[in-house]
Amino acid sequence: MNIEILSSVFAQLFTLEVIVALLIGVVGGMVVGALPGLSATMAVALLLPLTFSMGTIAGLVMLTGLYTSAMYGGSISAILLHTPGTPSSAATALDGYEMTKQGRGLEAIGISTISSMIGGVFSALVLLFLAPPLSLVSLKFSEPEYFLIAIFGLTIISSLASDSVVKGLLSGVFGLLIGLIGTDILTGFPRFTFGISELESGISLVPAMIGLFSISQVLSQMEAIRDAKRNQINKVDGKVLPSWTSLKKIGPTITLSSVIGLFVGMLPGAGGDIGSWVGYNEAKKLSKNPEKFGKGCIEGVAAPEAANNAVTGGALIPLLVLGIPGSAVTAVLLGGLMIQGLVPGRDLFTVHATTTYSVIVGLIFANLLMGIIGLLAAKHIVKVTNISFSILIPVIIVFSLVGSYAINNSMFDVYVMVFFGVVGYLMKKTGFHPAPVVLAIILGPLAEGGLRRAMVMAKGDFLLYLFQRPISVVLIIMILLSILSPIILNYRKKKKEEEVAL
């Protein structure tokens, strides 16, 4: 990145539209994160239709800001209410809530805010400097590799997101089949449209996504709507700004956790929840007094929070470089990129350099802004958890509906949303996961196009052709590993359980 790009990046970022979008993303993410039962995935999917009529940079900055801020927002309710707002903050609740009980709630919020901010800024900086050179890899890719990388993205998310590998792969293939609906681009022949003219342009991605992530989540929440009780907000005391001594104390923890979070984020399939637990456990292992963990020690708050925000920048690396999203949120973000006409790969860092760098620098600002707003307002944000679900759910349903409609001004898209809402809900109830379906709808056309063009390039034996290409061979091995390793791990776990049972 040179000075010229840098100056245009700043010119792009400091416009009213981008700053407003950034604020909406950060505050919105905090609120959504703090509310147990509302996920970051759902929020990103709901805001996606809005980005349609916004500038590219403003829209993407809003979505990534929302993503990182929701990671942090979960810690507010974890610390003050002992109810993690997101799974990523479950580890934070251990020591955070202890601190609240000891009357140090605000101090815990301060530690969590500072750690989240540092973790987030660190990973965004690594993203800024590491992604461009890594994207050179994608230059070596041709049609067969595009096909294989799409398959790899699918197998990895399938094998990790569901109860069993078979169910994960079934969800993935189901999504690929959905992706087939519509006119075949190469021959112009309509496939699986059943004579419905609206289906000829294919299933629209955004309504399907809103249905699968947002409506299905709402329906799941409905099961518990009658048991919902008001959260008792504890009296919050203490000073929000951490003292210099405690900052020095958590410094090493934050550093280690940021690195851990970054690497966990880069791994496809592992997200904030895994990152924060690994961060917490490592901090405990390396601590001089591990017995203090779980009894309200500040390292126990700093470690998971630095880690889960560091996941965000890490997770964006494979997304921007190769187009492999490692989690449900990043799958939705990939949809957001595609809507703006941005295809992951080297082009993002050359042709669209200004846009891409603006979004990454925007992510750094989002993390800083999140820190400032968090320190000032976290104790007020926790009050949103008092809004009852009988108000939230109809509001979310109306937003889902308007969002699905607004993409193409079409009622048909609303029907699509309702249909996928029911499908997503039933899938969740039967041990499937909607994330592979969404990813498959996005990647399906890329995979098919890549495969068919690669077959033409192969001029004969396709498998032999693949094995002559080194990158293809590596990708095939990675695909096989991603399918086989969960099976082997499961088998070993079962065997161990049987041994214990004996």
């Binding site: 349903i397 109306v398 509906l401 495969l451």
Partner: protein
């Protein structure tokens, strides 16, 4: 012999893939190539799921989540949503939305009258300003 949930899903997948495979016969060879392999894979995975759950007799925890008690409120919400979508076509977006929000909150026992009215009015106003006025999206 009672069928378990996963058996059932497996059977549905197998039937669905047979039906879809049949449909690919009408397509030109080039367009049918990728779908055919995909459908075969879908069917094979369905068969594996069926036999896996057939063999695993002890795992039965998931079924209990399909009890009437658990499904009652989600189905009510879904019913309201479907009626809402139909109403939009008949009487327009804003009237239907207002009715949906009010009815939903009353059905699910929001007691405060003030909150019900306030939510409906504020939501309508917000959507109007954002979509109709700001983004120029004509709502149905």
């Amino acid at each position: 012999m009672s069928l378990k949930l996963d058996d059932f899903i497996g059977i549905i997948v197998i039937i669905l893939s047979a039906f879809l495979y049949f449909l690919t016969n009408d397509l030109p060879e080039q367009s049918a190539f990728f779908p055919k392999y995909l459908i075969i894979l879908f069917g094979v995975l369905g068969v594996i799921l069926f036999f896996q759950s057939f063999k695993n007799k002890r795992e039965q925890s998931k079924e209990s989540s399909f009890s009437m008690k658990n499904l009652k409120d989600p189905s009510k919400a879904l019913g309201l949503l479907i009626v809402y979508v139909i109403l939009i076509n008949l009487i327009g977006f804003f009237i239907a939305t207002t009715m949906f929000v009010v009815v939903f909150m009353v059905v699910f026992k929001e007691k405060s009258f003030k909150k019900v009215v306030l939510t409906a009015v504020l939501l309508d106003a917000f959507l109007y300003v954002l979509f109709v006025y700001q983004l120029n999206v004509p709502l149905p």
